[in-house]
Amino acid sequence: MARINRPVSRRQAWWLLATALAACLPLAPQVPPWLSVAAGMAFSWRAVLTWRQWRLPPRWLLVLLVIAGTAGVFLQYRTIVGRTPGIALLVVFLALKLLELRAARDAVATALLCYFLVLGQFLFTQTIPTALLACLTVLITTATLLAASDDRPQPQRQLRRAGLMLAQALPFMLLLFVLFPRVQGPLWGIPQDRFSAVSGLSDSMSPGSIAQLSQSDAIAFRVQFKGPLPPQSQLYWRGPVMPAFDGRSWRVAQTLGAYPEVPYTGLGAAVDYEVTLEPHGKFWLFALELPATLPPDSTLTNDYQPIARQVVRNRIRYAQRAWPEAIAGVNEAPSILRSALALPKDGNPRMRAIGAAWSAQYGTDGAAILAAAENLFSQQLLIYTLNPPLLGPDIVDEFLFDTKRGFCEHFAAAFVFALRAGGVPARVVAGYQGGEVNPVDGYLVVRQYDAHAWAEAWIAGRGWVRIDPTAISAPSRINSNFSAAVPAGEALPFLARGDLAWLKELRYRLDAVTNGWNQRVLGYNPQRQRDLLASLGLNEPDWRSMTAVLSVLCGGVMLGLTGWILRNRLRVDPALTAWRRFAVRLAKRGIAWQVWEGPLAFAERAARQAPAHAADIREIAALYARLRYGAAPQAADLTQLKTKIAAFNP
């Protein structure tokens, strides 16, 4: 007990201060700014007190500060429970605990608080840098904890010891990670709101909204194909379908019916793949057109988009199958077709007039009108650009006949409008097109700048047909990639650029590492655990068998570690082992080796008592002395010693 009440030395105080700072700094972006400032002031105050060796503040002042800090957190969040308020409160306590650092037990409490705060970081982010930073902080905290029980802490020694302890804990950590029963989803459903503001497709599309995404190289999702990669021009990742048009923007349908199962059939071979979707804060899931299966916990809307039951707030992974060729919606419901024909009351008179002309000319022949629309688009010599000019109220007319410059949303919107004006049901489909294969791990990476919009027309007898009007003017957008289609000189996101190959290579590698982390560590869910255990022969494990396996393995690791340490500690010089055997043989002759006796001295004594073996005894002793005390023991000498002793029989 005396140890725990021993005063904290100045050096230990510096250690603790540094450790607390290391534990708090990564949380600075998460807690309110006033708390960061206040904690910073408490740290500085403590630093000054330590430096000047002044007295610590009185208890009553600390009590007041604790009350003030707690009240501040409460006023900020209207509660003191929950993730962020809880962490904020811990920061308050840690900062103030430093100001009452008197005895060793305060130091221990501070170090434990630091551990909690390190854990707290994972409630906000779970990336590789966070994990590395946490490892470093845990190392420092452990060293501090060791230093707290040492009068004269030596940073190097404590750090080395802490590192060794953590290294010994590593196998247990891995075992617990792999075998401890996992809960569904991340622990406590966290982190979640970190992804609330991420970019991605929205449920409406107006001129410029997708062009904005084209500046982002954030990852939308990753795909691993089971078979060969389909051609680039087939990689249409279906997202929100937007049939509703208000004259300016396109929206998803207000009310969506859902199919219990996929209502169409595919032609030709299916493609199997697995998507790892980054959280995007929306309901929809991306699937290669047209989805043949549904991800778990999702439904297919009546415009064929898979929708999750819950907003995608965590990274999720699902296996999927797609039919690149499919006949869908031949017998489409009239209500859907009606909504796919709806146009605002006025606006875009020129396009309406042309549409009316087509309608008059071709009647209900959808295929002919489709061909006419395609023809119109190619005649207009439209230019695909990242920086389209601003459009007035009649966005379709102005784009098609005046400015003639647009991004994919202009093309898709104008094309669908043209078809509807001609009386052909059509709708806008948003999503992603293409993607880039990371050569390091073979994953297809789809980034925000791959966002795209295309059109879908309903032709009697053929059902829904995909037409990509962008491909009419800029076929390279579809056949190669986004950057190839953009005119030279326009600003591209970094990763879409063709130059800077080495940086790109580096990015590929980093991305592969991140992906591995996401797949193997963060994506290690109950299902994967079950699969792993099944592959180990544990089918449908209950908590009892899991506990048993865990205990046995932990015990095994413990035994192994203990054995390893003991072996290192008790490693006996083989020469000494041989010498002891020799001593036992002589002891049987009544010549006992005294444990304090040097080898040559013993040899002389033994040689006198057993003159018949004097030469052997002297030779063995000389060999042993050279092996055990000599400068460079020779392996040959050891072999010779062993043979001599084996042959020695007094």
Partner: protein, 306 residues
């Protein structure tokens, strides 16, 4: 493989100091380990002769200082005397400026005079009248002291005893050796007839050779175990200091070199242990203080070889 020159030196000394092979060998080891030697014994057992012979066979110059109770530091270190011709003070070096210094009956002098010599031993230089002068190389002090229970002695404090690497006793010769001594030629003439076996440069080389003798981890473990035992056992007032452990290793290395080995054995440590610990360890039991060998043997037998 023993070095022939060292064997020759030992043979020369043993021809004059009869029947004292072990103390002679120890004093030589002390010299090879660059340490100073303290000989405690009764007058007339050959302390001075040993010092003289050592200096002679090693080709070193020799001075003797007879310590008395009215001695002053200047008598040891030297003094500046005004020279009328040049009109300036000239430093006349004292007897300490010599390669082998025999400090006879060092515990007869007052602490002031003792410390003048002891400082010179530690620093291997002398500061007199504001000027620092280096002592010759090698520098080797053989001090003799009378047993402290004799009249008119100022015992050396422990800290100053520690300056001596080894303390040995010569003791009476055995009857046969004594008879040979009595019947033989005059020792003084014999010493005068000796010729140096090596030069002082070679002696410095041999000292370096002794420093390089290998002490294996197992042996260092043994030295540590010995020290640990003296520190924990109730038999001694205080344990061996790290400096004492260094001294033990240094002498053991020199002893191994004298035995013609390039590594130290536990036997070497055990052989030099009495001389290293006798003036450093004070047994709690006063009666045990007299028999140094028995005390050392008890220590050796209490500590198993690691």
């Amino acid at each position: 493989m023993r070095l022939p020159e060292l064997e020759a030196i030992q043979a020369d000394i043993n021809r004059i100091i009869l029947g004292k092979e072990r103390p002679v060998c120890l004093s030589l080891a002390c010299l090879l380990a660059c340490g100073h030697l303290l000989i405690e014994d009764l007058p007339g057992v050959g302390k001075t002769t040993l010092a003289h012979v050592l200096a002679r066979v090693l080709g070193l110059n020799f001075q003797r200082i007879q310590f008395t109770s009215d001695m002053l530091p200047a008598d040891i270190l030297g003094v500046s005397i005004f020279d009328r011709d040049s009109g300036a003070f000239h430093f006349h070096p004292g007897p300490v400026f010599s390669q082998v210094v025999l400090a006879d009956e060092i515990n007869r002098a007052t602490p002031k005079a003792q410390s003048a010599l002891l400082e010179a031993m530690e620093e291997r230089q002398v500061t007199a009248e504001g000027k620092t002068r280096a002592l010759p190389e090698p520098f080797f002090v053989i001090a003799t002291q009378n047993p402290t229970h004799q009249i008119g002695t100022f015992p050396l404090p422990e800290s100053q005893l520690d300056r001596f690497l080894l303390k040995i006793e010569l003791g009476y010769p055995d009857p046969a050796a004594e008879r040979e001594l009595l019947a033989g030629a005059d020792r003084r003439q014999m010493v005068a007839s000796l010729t140096p076996r090596i030069t002082s440069q070679r002696l410095v080389q041999l000292q370096e050779l002794a420093r390089q003798v290998h002490a294996s981890p197992a042996l260092i473990d043994y030295v540590q175990a010995l020290a640990a035992h003296t520190r924990t056992a109730a038999r001694w007032q205080a344990g061996l200091s790290p400096r004492a452990c260094l001294a033990l290793l240094a002498v053991a290395r020199a002893w191994a070199l004298l035995d013609g080995r390039h590594h130290v054995l536990p036997e070497d440590v055990q052989a030099v242990l009495p001389g290293v610990i006798s003036h450093r360890l004070r047994p709690t039991d006063d009666t045990a203080r007299t028999d140094v060998e028995a005390v050392a043997a008890a220590l050796i037998e209490a500590v198993p070889l690691p």
